[in-house]
């Protein structure tokens, strides 16, 4: 119980706030019909998670969460939504795949039931923040994080970078227009 003693009222308040923000956003993504509103709900979730990161003293992660996810990725989502003109309410009464919704409901219920059952059987330990050591470098936790990423986890870091480059090149190749004669042939094929 001494783990709980380290938790103060502001801690709880901030956690509740961030959890409420994330959950409200997550539910919003599913519930709202307008894609732009859904993207905004996603931003709210990301913001809530950033608040939780600050509470966990992971300032760098919190900042990166906002800069990268909210500041770049969701902006691109919105950009695409606006540019392609799909920013209209969708008709949800039609099921794209027959029997999709009952199947999804059954699967979700099964998954939740198994998670709850596991929680009872397996004695999961989900401790408060004090269970991991605090990162206390001279220059905040950024220096420690940088050292870890560029020494211990260098391979994983570089592999991820390589993966992203491959993804970008793949996207460029896929988006490229085929050569003109070939394109004409393709158009003819498609037209028939």
């Amino acid at each position: 119980m001494n783990l709980l003693a380290a938790v103060t009222i502001p801690d709880v308040a901030i956690f509740v706030l961030s959890a409420a923000l994330s959950l409200a956003g997550a539910v919003g993504i599913l519930v709202v019909k307008n894609p732009v509103h859904a993207a905004l709900s996603l931003v709210m979730t990301l913001f809530g998670i950033a608040v939780a990161f600050i509470e966990l003293q992971a300032d760098f992660l919190a900042a990166v969460q906002i800069i990268v996810y909210a500041g770049a990725i969701v902006v691109l989502f919105l950009f695409v939504i606006m540019f392609l003109g799909v920013d209209k309410r969708e008709d949800l009464s039609v099921e794209p795949i027959v029997g999709q919704r009952p199947t999804a409901a059954v699967l979700v219920l099964g998954l939740m039931a198994s998670i709850i059952a596991l929680g009872f059987i397996g004695h999961f330990e989900v401790g408060p923040q004090a269970q991991t050591a605090e990162l206390t470098g001279a220059a905040g936790n950024v220096a420690d994080l940088g050292r870890a990423v560029f020494t211990t986890y260098l391979f994983a870091f570089e592999a991820t970078a390589g993966l992203l480059v491959i993804a970008v090149i793949g996207a460029v190749v896929l988006a490229r227009k085929p050569d003109a004669p070939k394109a004409a042939a393709l158009v003819e094929e498609g037209g028939q």
């Binding site: 732009v36 509470e55 760098f60 800069i67 606006m82 540019f83 003109g85 905040g140």
Partner: protein
């Protein structure tokens, strides 16, 4: 609780009433000063630009027209608040706040002066000094994109929408260059905290990051920041001749005032960020006069910020607006590679001169490869052997515009298509 408050020495003795009052006073003073500075900035811009264009400018309300902004603000308050029928009402109302709040937040991490001791409590003259410091500036400018983007989209009108698409592309692109130059500064200063960045530049003029990072990052940062602010010569977002008033065309009354306010507030805060990053913040000679010694850092800071604000006004008077494709070319093909190259050079030079030589050679090879790539790309796009349809027949902008504004994928008959293309070109 420790996590959030540990950064500031003001909280060393815990959260007492005195500390609480100091924090509240800091917040209120920062807010009031910023609001006052914005009204002065608007007046200053109108007056200075009038001088440059041989006009008189505002001179009716108050001495030298100083109260003109106040009068305009009151007028805007009492104007009718219109919400277009086609708009998305919730987002339309939300957007102005998404622009204004980040503009205020950025100023919270700017050190405006040295340290002051009041009632045995020593504190920095800045609202907050979080460990992530300068990243908050980048995060806030990332959030501000939403305001402009959503304002244009929610208006349900075509010119604001085009403006907001331009804005989001422009601001996201230039954020990359902005961030890269911030990294160069961080390499030299060894910290993310704005206070630490300013402290590292104390001493003489030669300790400023302007000199220490070798001038280039400052120039690149200045260009990127101007684009990030959507100020001339990068104000394609509100190019009056093309887009009526830009993203805020449909806004009126107090919501328009908020956009206007945020625009000028961003000019001030971005100037302050530049002063913090490259010009030592409040650094400057402090004469040893008891009791009023603390004023001088604030004075130096203010002077530097005003100099930058004046420079932005000068930009607006002197430089013609860039075309949109030129703007994107500048951002992606010049600023980002240059920022990256200089960042690598500084990082290598901090290690040893041998590494600096190696990286210099690498940068040179990269530069040649990149120039070649651009030439081949331009050749593919524009020459006779181009794989793309010839320029007059490309789908942009007529077809895509109609898709954007009508919202459906119907492209229409070819005859209509050509006509609208001509219209756009004319």
């Amino acid at each position: 609780m420790n996590g959030i408050l540990a950064a500031d020495h003001l909280f060393d003795q815990g959260l007492t009433l005195a500390v609480f009052i100091i924090v509240v006073v800091k917040v209120v003073v920062a807010f009031a000063v910023l609001m006052g500075a914005v009204t002065l900035m608007i007046w200053f811009e109108r007056k200075a630009i009038s001088d440059m264009q041989s006009r008189i400018g505002p001179n009716r309300v108050g001495p030298w027209g100083l109260l003109q902004t106040l009068a305009d603000g009151i007028k805007l308050f009492f104007k009718e608040d219109l919400i277009p029928a086609e708009s998305d009402r919730f987002v339309f109302k939300l957007a102005p706040y998404l622009v204004v709040v980040p503009a205020f937040l950025i100023f919270a991490v700017i050190p405006v002066g040295g340290t002051v001791t009041i009632a045995h409590h020593t504190f920095d003259l800045q609202v907050a000094d979080p460990p992530m410091g300068i990243l908050l500036v980048l995060a806030c400018s990332g959030i501000a994109v939403y305001g402009i983007m959503l304002a244009g989209w929610a208006s349900g009108s075509k010119y604001p929408l085009m403006s907001s698409v331009r804005a989001s592309a422009q601001m996201v692109s230039y954020e990359a260059a902005l961030g890269m130059n911030v990294v160069t500064v961080l390499l030299v200063c060894n910290s993310l905290s704005t206070r630490a960045i300013v402290d590292a530049q104390g001493g003489s003029f030669f300790h400023w990051n302007l000199i220490k990072t070798g001038l280039v990052p400052f120039v690149l940062f200045l260009i990127a920041a101007t684009a990030e602010l959507n100020r001339p010569p990068f104000d394609v977002v509100e190019a009056d001749s093309e887009l009526v008033g830009g993203f805020n065309t449909e806004y009126s009354s107090i919501r328009f005032a908020l956009f206007y306010l945020a625009e000028f507030m961003n000019t001030i805060t971005m100037s302050a960020v530049m002063v913090t990053l490259f010009f030592g913040g409040p650094a400057g000679p402090v004469p040893n006069i008891p009791h009023i010694k603390w004023i001088f850092p604030i004075l130096w800071f203010t002077l530097k910020v005003v100099a930058f604000c004046y420079m932005y006004i000068w930009f607006r008077a002197a430089l013609p607006r860039m075309r949109y494709d030129q703007l994107m070319d500048l951002g992606w093909k010049k600023l980002i590679p240059a920022s990256l190259a200089w960042m690598l050079l500084v990082a290598a030079a901090l290690t040893s001169w041998r590494w600096a030589l190696v990286v210099l050679a690498g940068v040179f090879i990269g530069w040649i490869a990149l120039t070649q790539a651009f030439e081949i790309g331009a050749d593919r796009e524009l020459s006779d052997s181009s794989v793309l349809p010839s320029i007059g027949q490309r789908p942009l902008p007529g077809r895509v515009l109609r898709q954007m504004t009508d919202g459906d994928g119907d492209v229409g008959s070819p005859v209509r298509d050509e006509a609208s293309d001509e219209e756009v070109e004319a």
